[in-house]
């Protein structure tokens, strides 16, 4: 294998890894704030991608406005899911299984709606910096991919700041750790849970608009993104948003090397096997309990 090919696959791995990390980040945000494993995280991204595509191609919106619109769309879907799906289930004494089933249903609903209104075809989305390429040691990387990596890291830093420094971030954590205690000191717990989904949806939306220019948008892409994001979140300890990016990068690199050494057809088989092995071997992630307890 040549060095160029190796660097090329490494770059692809890091780019994909950031996407998986962002999905995992969204999953972790929602798990952290509500203890719900959200099986429709990848579908927030699908919605965001579709909105960004429609805004650009049908309305002729500038790319930044379209991306912002996608992110807002993701946040709104997250909020609606909390109101219509998660809250009624919680009221009726939902178990861990019923939350998962409800969000799975939501995932299938988004995918089915995308099929119905958006069609069976894949759609390409324009990226930041168009299709321009940068040269890294003879390997090529799209300008958009560089933006993706930078923005992913920015989201991680912003979330860290949000949870540790802002009043709302701290209130969300309080509502999640001890709902009764939080209510006693005047925190609006249902509102915090809604905000959690709003935030998770927004992170999913960012992932969606950033990934869409690299892979085309397709109505079935949500579930696979969710599974890969979940892999990232578990590697980095579920509920720890900062671990998710690390986990995502690991998964991205494993996948990239698998494409080089095995075959691109088996890419998903390898990443799903990786998911199962990770769940069996290190269910608490590489950061372990210390990471989970950390507020």
């Amino acid at each position: 294998m040549t060095t160029t090919l190796f660097i090329q696959s490494l770059l692809a791995g890091v780019t994909n890894g950031c996407v998986y990390g962002l999905i995992g980040l969204g999953l972790s945000v929602i798990y952290r704030g509500s203890r719900v494993v959200n099986a429709m995280q990848g579908d927030f991204s699908l919605v965001a991608g579709i909105i960004a595509y429609l805004a650009m191609e049908r309305l002729g919106a500038p790319i930044l406005i379209a991306f912002l619109g996608g992110m807002v769309a993701g946040a709104i879907v997250g909020w609606i899911v909390e109101l219509l799906f998660v809250r009624p289930t919680r009221k009726r004494g939902g178990t861990e299984e019923s939350f998962l089933l409800v969000t799975l249903g939501g995932a299938f609903a988004v995918s089915a709606a995308a099929l119905l209104f958006f069609g069976r075809d894949s759609h390409p989305v324009r990226g930041l910096g168009g299709n321009e390429l940068l040269d890294v040691f003879d390997a090529a990387i799209r300008v958009h991919a560089v933006w993706l990596i930078v923005l992913s890291l920015a989201v991680v830093v912003a979330l860290r700041f949000f949870y540790t420094r802002t009043f709302i971030g701290k209130s969300i954590m309080a509502a999640s750790i001890d709902a009764d205690g939080a209510t006693t000191i005047g925190i609006n717990v249902p509102l915090m849970r809604s905000l959690t989904f709003l935030l998770g949806g927004a992170v999913g939306g960012v992932a969606g608009v950033l990934v869409s220019p690299l892979i085309t948008i397709h109505y079935e892409m949500g579930l696979l993104l969710t599974l890969k994001g979940f892999t990232a979140a578990i590697i980095g300890t579920l509920g720890n948003p900062f671990g998710a990016i690390v986990g995502g990068l690991m998964l991205g690199l494993v996948e990239a090397l698998a494409i080089v050494f095995v075959s691109s057809g088996y890419k998903d088989v390898i990443s799903m096997t990786f998911l199962i092995l990770i769940m069996i071997a290190i269910p608490n992630g590489i950061l372990g309990h210390r990471g989970r307890a950390g507020g």
Binding site: V37, F85, A109, G265, L275
Partner: protein, 334 residues
């Protein structure tokens, strides 16, 4: 309702109630047997699929209802059965019987080898692991085209013949497949009442207590998972023999979802609930076909609504109503 009344009721009404049950069963069998003679070919075809999906679905329902395991991997075992029959009867030239049993053996072995490690996972971890399995299965069905024919599929699969009588019409297949479905239900109903059935409920409701009482929780889960895979494979083999053509499109994630829907809509706590669930997933796309691809959206909506508002499914709902009636009062069942 006082205690005295409820004790005197069975003694006084046992004979008439048994007679009523026998009469109801006779009417049921008569209706069942006369359907293919009266209904259109299309309707009988749908009823055949209802039976196929209820066989595969009862395996998923039993896992969910008795063990609390969400399995999205049934499409894989359904596919293994279908491809075993397809490959066995075309490439190898086998009779349909050994092909069917080979499929069940492969599905059971795969379920054992995968189930042993993953059934130690709990809750959503396990559910997502089975979803990952369904993804893996779908890719492998696509990639291993020397067995599965990939997207082109396999055609010319042998039909089922019994004593020289070929099941080549929906009407003929209807009788056969519903008898098989009945046997599978009977098997599961017996399991439910057996010692193992009690152990499963104990394991679901109070895992720690079950372990203290000497129930090998993990082993029991693996056994139920293998059994579910075997009936999934059986349904897949029958499906392949019925339609005589299989392609990878039949074994995707959407099929795994529809099997889960059989369990959730039909009711995971009752065996016969699967029939209602299977009837729903066969009839709904047919009734909604005028509106294009909308049935997938309806499926998803129904899944959400059923989990929130009808956690016991149609089967559980009906069971509670029937119990209420038998006890002479609407509230007595609870």
């Amino acid at each position: 309702m006082s205690l005295g009344q409820s004790q005197s009721l069975p003694a006084g009404s046992r004979m008439p109630r048994n007679l009523a049950l026998i009469a109801a069963a006779a009417v049921f069998v008569a209706v069942w047997a006369s359907v293919p003679l009266l209904a259109s070919r299309g309707t009988v075809d749908l009823l055949v699929f209802t039976a196929l999906y209820s066989i595969a679905g009862v395996g998923v329902a039993f896992l969910l209802g008795q063990c609390g395991i969400i399995s999205l991997a049934q499409s894989v075992f359904y596919g293994i059965g279908a491809y075993a029959t397809a490959y066995g009867t075309t490439a190898l030239g086998w009779h349909w019987v050994p092909s069917l049993f080979a499929g069940m053996a492969v599905a059971g072995t795969v379920a054992f080898l995968i189930g042993w490690p993953i059934l130690r996972l709990s809750g959503h971890f396990l559910a997502l692991a089975t979803l990952a399995l369904a993804t893996i299965g779908h890719v492998l069905f696509l990639e291993w085209d020397w067995i599965t024919g990939g997207t082109l599929g396999v055609g010319g699969i042998a039909r089922i013949s019994l004593f020289g009588f070929v099941l080549n019409t929906p009407q003929r297949f209807y009788y056969f497949v519903w008898i098989v479905a009945g046997l599978v239900f009977w098997l599961y109903a017996n399991l439910l009442k057996s010692r193992a059935g009690f152990a499963m409920r104990a394991m679901r409701d109070a895992p720690s207590a079950a372990m203290v009482l000497g129930v090998d929780v993990h082993r029991l889960k693996v056994q139920v998972f293998v059994m579910s895979a075997v009936v999934g494979s059986l349904a897949g083999s029958l499906f392949a023999s019925y339609v005589t053509f299989v392609s990878v499109d039949s074994f995707g994630i959407d099929r795994a979802v529809s099997f889960l829907l059989v369990a959730v809509v039909g009711g995971a706590q009752t065996i016969l609930g699967s029939v209602f669930g299977a009837a729903f997933i066969t009839l709904a796309p047919n009734l909604l076909s005028k509106l294009g691809d909308i049935h997938a959206l309806v499926y998803a909506g129904v899944l959400v609504l059923a989990v929130i508002f009808l956690p016991q499914g149609i089967g559980g709902f009906l069971r509670d109503r029937v119990r209420g009636l038998l006890n002479g009062s609407g509230r007595a069942g609870r």
